[in-house]
Point group: C2
Chain length 457, copies 2
C-alpha cells in the first residue's frame, strides 16, 4: 500500500470550496422546488436489478453498475451455466442489485409501490446521485447528481406553465441572466412528419432536423434525402428551416404548415396556451422560445418538450430539460397510465456556467470568519469564551488549537482565506478586550466582546 | 412485470415527511459543523477495492458491497482460476470497485491523496451514505448516512474540548435535553490492565468491563475469571465497579487506583484538563460524564473516547461517539502519522429519539401553506398572479391544476395537510380580492393581494 491512493476513473472528490458551491446550487433548487409545492422523496442507491434492467435499452443495460451478491455467490450458479463462461448470462446469476441509473425509473417504482399512500396530483422533487458506466470524458462522470422535479396525475397544461416559472425562479435566484427555455411539442413533430407523408420516418426526420444548428439547412436536407424522405416532401417542410421571430410569430408559420394535421394543430394549441399564460404572468430572467428542431427524448415524451440553453457566449450544452409523458408507471404493472410532466436541472453544467461567469456569491463559501490566535493555556481559555459567544451569535469562529509560533498561526489564517484574526495576550485579558486584526488592510482595533460581535456581524 | 415492485432488503424509500425531518437534522448538523469551522468534503460512493479491502478486518471485508466490472468481465479471468469456482478468489478478478463502508477510510485516502492542497490542522465534516451487507434488522440498514466531523493534524486537547461543545451545540439546537456525553480514555483502560498485571489481557478485561451495565458486577467478575484474570487482580480493581459522583470525584478514585501507572496517570490528566475547560466554559444541554467502563473501538482509539447516550427513558443505544486516534493515514503510505480526533452523529437513531419525544418542530416539514382552488381558466390565471407574488414573498403556494369538483380540491388540501385554501371566482375577480379560508377553523376572510400576503406571513 505504498503507492499514492487514487479514486476510480469518472468519479470525483469534492473539496470544501466545491461542496459549498454545489450546496449553494442545490439549496437554491431545493428552496424553489419547495416554494412551488414540490415535495422531496429519496429512494435507495441500489434497486433490485429487475426494477432497472430493460428500461433504458440495450446500451443502458450495459451502462448500469451491477452489485455482486454477497457470500459464496458462485455456489448457486449451475455447473452448466458456469461452464459456458458467458459474462452476460452469468451476471443475472451472481448479481441481484444494481446502482440507480437515473431518478425517473426509481420514481415510477416509488409511485406504484406507494400508490395507496400518495395523494394525486403528486409533485415530487428528488436530488440524488446516479451512476453510469459510461466512458468518462470532459464533463461526463460515472457518478453525478440529478435534480428532478415531476408533477404526475394531472393533464392540465398549467403544469407546463408552472415548470417554465420554476426555471425562471431558479435562474433568477442564481443570477443567470440570458438563459433561454426552448420549447417544442412532440405533437408538432408528429404533425410535420404526417403532413409530408413521412409518419413512418418520424425518428429519421426529427433526428436530422435536430442537427440544423450544427450542419445547416443543406446538411439536414442531405441527411433527410439519404433516409428516403422525398425531395418533394422536404420542399413542403422548408419554411421551418427559416422560422424566426417571436414565439407567436413562429406559431403562426407552423399553423399554416400544419393546417391539415389534427395532431399538429393540437401541439400548436398547447404551446400557444402555455405561451399566452407565461406572457400574462411575466418572466424575470428566462426567455421562452419556440424551437421546432428540438427533439429531446422523443421515444419518451408525448407532449411539451423543454430544453434550457445557457446564456449566449458560454460554450455549454443544455443545462436542463424535460417534458410531458403519458405513461410513467405501466412498466411496473400499474392499472392506469399516469400522465405527468418533469424537468431536470444539470447540476454539473450549471456549476461550470456560474464559475465561468463568476456568479458564485462570496457567501456561497461559508468559511471561518474569525481565527483566534493561541498564546498559551490561559489566553486560550479567555479566547474560547469569546469564540463560544460568537458562535451563539451565528458567527463562525475558531481558536487555533496549539500555541504555535505566531507566524505559523497567521499563515494558517492566510491559507484558509480567513479575513480576521483576534489576538488576546495578558494585556488584553487584563483590560477585558480583544484585538481584532483585518488581514487584508492590517488595521487593528481593540474591542470588548460585545463590540467585537457587533464589528464582525 | 405485473408483480408489485419492491426495494432490496435493508434499504428504504423516504417519504416527503421523512426527507424533511431527516434534512432538519442534517441541516442542524451542517450549520453547527460550519459554525465550529469544520469544512465539508465529499468523496465518491465507490472506491477502488484496494482502498477499502483489509481495512475493516475479515468480517468487514465480507460486508463490503462489491461492484461487478463492466463489459465482458469473464474474458480476463484465467481458465485455471475460473475452474476452481471459488467465490472469494474470483471476486478480485471480476470486481475492482466497492461501495464505501464508512467515511473514515475514504477520509484517510482523501487526506493522503490531497495532502499538498490541505492546510493543517484540517477540520472536515462529511455527511454521506455508506453501505454494508449486514443482516438487516430493526434499526440496522444496508444503506445509511454517516455524519462525521474530524480534526486532524493537532494533538491539542482543545480539540476534544471543542467536540464536547459541538455535541452540546447540536443537541441544544435539536432541543434534546438530558443527553449525556460519556467520556473515557484508552490510557486509563491500559493503566488499569497494567496495574493489575493483566496488560496482556487488555481486550478481555475491557470487553468484560464494558458489560457492567448489562450483567452487573458479579457477571463481570465471572467473565474476567473465565478469561484467566486472577481473583486477586480483580480485587484490586473493584473500586471502579462502584465509582460514582461527579466527573472530578470519579477522577479522584481513579487517581488513587492508577498511582503507579504512568499511562494511567496521563489518561487521567487528559480527562481532567478537558473537564476543567468544559466546566469553565459551561454547557447548555449536555451533561459530561466519566464512564470508566466505556471501551468503544479500542483497537482504533488511542486517547479520549466519547459516547453519547440519549435522554434517560428513551430506549436507544448510543446516538453518537468518537475519540482520539494517533495515526489516520499510514495505511495509505503517508510519511508521518497524522493524529486526530473525530466524532459522529447517528442520524437514524437521533431521528427515532426526536420522534419518540415529539421534538420535531412543525416547520421541519415544509409543506405547502396555501392551495388556490381552480374554478376555470380565467380564475386560474387570476390566482396564478397571486401565487407568483406569494412565492416571491417566500410563501409556498400552489394552484390546483385542474378545475375539478370543489369537494375533490378541498379534500386534496385536507389530505396534504394544507391549512389554508384560497377561493377566487368571478365575484372576487370583480372586487380584486381573494377569499382566504382556514381549513381548521372554517373561518373565511376577503382580502386583497397585499393583505393576503400579510395575513399568511
Amino acid at each position: 500500500m505504498a503507492q499514492k491512493p487514487s479514486i476510480p476513473k469518472g468519479t470525483r472528490d469534492f473539496s470544501p470550496e466545491e461542496v459549498s458551491r454545489r450546496n449553494y446550487i442545490i439549496n437554491t433548487l431545493r428552496h424553489n422546488f419547495e416554494l412551488f409545492g414540490f415535495q422531496p422523496i429519496e429512494t435507495p442507491s441500489f434497486e433490485n436489478s429487475s426494477t432497472l434492467m430493460g428500461k433504458y435499452g440495450d446500451e443502458g443495460d450495459r451502462l448500469i453498475f451491477k452489485i455482486l451478491n454477497s457470500g459464496d455467490y458462485l455456489s448457486k450458479v449451475s455447473e452448466e451455466n458456469y461452464a459456458a463462461k458467458d459474462s452476460n448470462a452469468l451476471t443475472s446469476e451472481i448479481s441481484e442489485k444494481a446502482l440507480r441509473y437515473d431518478l425517473t425509473v426509481p420514481f415510477a417504482r416509488y409511485v406504484v409501490q406507494h400508490q395507496n399512500e400518495i395523494e394525486f396530483p403528486f409533485k415530487r422533487y428528488q436530488i440524488q446521485p446516479v451512476w453510469r458506466a459510461d466512458r468518462p470524458q470532459k464533463g461526463r462522470f460515472r457518478e453525478f447528481f440529478q435534480c428532478d422535479a415531476d408533477a404526475v396525475g394531472s393533464q392540465s397544461l398549467l403544469q407546463e406553465v408552472t415548470f417554465v416559472q420554476l426555471y425562471d425562479a431558479v435562474f433568477t435566484d442564481l443570477g443567470l441572466k440570458g438563459t433561454t427555455v426552448k420549447m417544442n411539442n412532440r405533437k408538432i413533430l408528429s404533425g410535420l412528419a404526417e403532413t409530408i407523408g413521412a409518419s413512418d420516418k418520424l425518428i429519421d426526420f426529427t433526428v436530422a432536423l435536430d442537427k440544423l444548428d450544427k450542419i445547416g439547412e443543406e446538411g439536414v436536407i442531405t441527411e433527410m434525402l439519404s433516409k428516403g424522405i422525398t425531395a418533394e416532401a422536404i420542399e413542403r417542410v422548408k419554411p421551418i428551416f427559416k422560422v424566426s421571430g417571436s414565439f407567436a410569430e413562429k406559431l403562426s408559420v407552423l399553423k399554416e404548415l400544419l393546417a391539415d394535421s389534427e395532431t399538429g394543430k393540437q401541439g400548436i394549441e398547447e404551446l400557444q396556451y402555455i405561451n399566452e399564460k407565461i406572457e400574462a404572468l411575466g418572466l424575470k430572467t428566462v426567455t421562452l422560445d419556440l424551437d421546432v428542431t428540438l427533439a429531446r427524448g422523443l421515444n419518451y415524451y408525448t407532449g411539451a418538450i423543454f430544453e434550457v440553453a445557457a446564456p449566449k457566449g458560454v460554450q455549454m450544452g443544455s443545462i436542463g430539460g424535460g417534458g410531458r409523458y403519458d405513461d410513467l408507471t405501466s412498466i411496473f404493472g400499474s392499472n392506469q397510465p399516469l400522465s405527468g410532466v418533469g424537468i431536470s436541472f444539470g447540476l454539473d453544467r450549471i456549476y461550470l456556467v456560474l464559475e465561468e461567469l463568476n456568479l458564485f456569491p462570496e457567501q456561497a463559501i461559508k468559511g471561518t470568519r474569525l481565527l483566534f490566535l493561541n498564546f498559551g493555556e490561559n489566553e486560550a481559555l479567555y479566547c474560547l469564551k469569546a469564540v463560544q459567544s460568537l458562535r451563539e451569535a451565528g458567527i463562525t469562529a475558531e481558536l487555533y488549537p496549539d500555541s504555535a509560533k505566531m507566524k505559523k498561526q497567521m499563515s494558517h489564517a492566510d491559507k484558509r482565506n480567513i479575513n480576521f484574526v483576534v489576538l488576546a495576550g495578558t494585556q488584553e485579558m487584563a483590560d477585558g478586550v480583544y484585538t481584532l486584526k483585518n488581514m487584508k488592510t492590517g488595521e487593528q482595533q481593540s474591542l470588548n466582546l460585545q463590540a467585537l460581535i457587533k464589528a464582525i456581524s
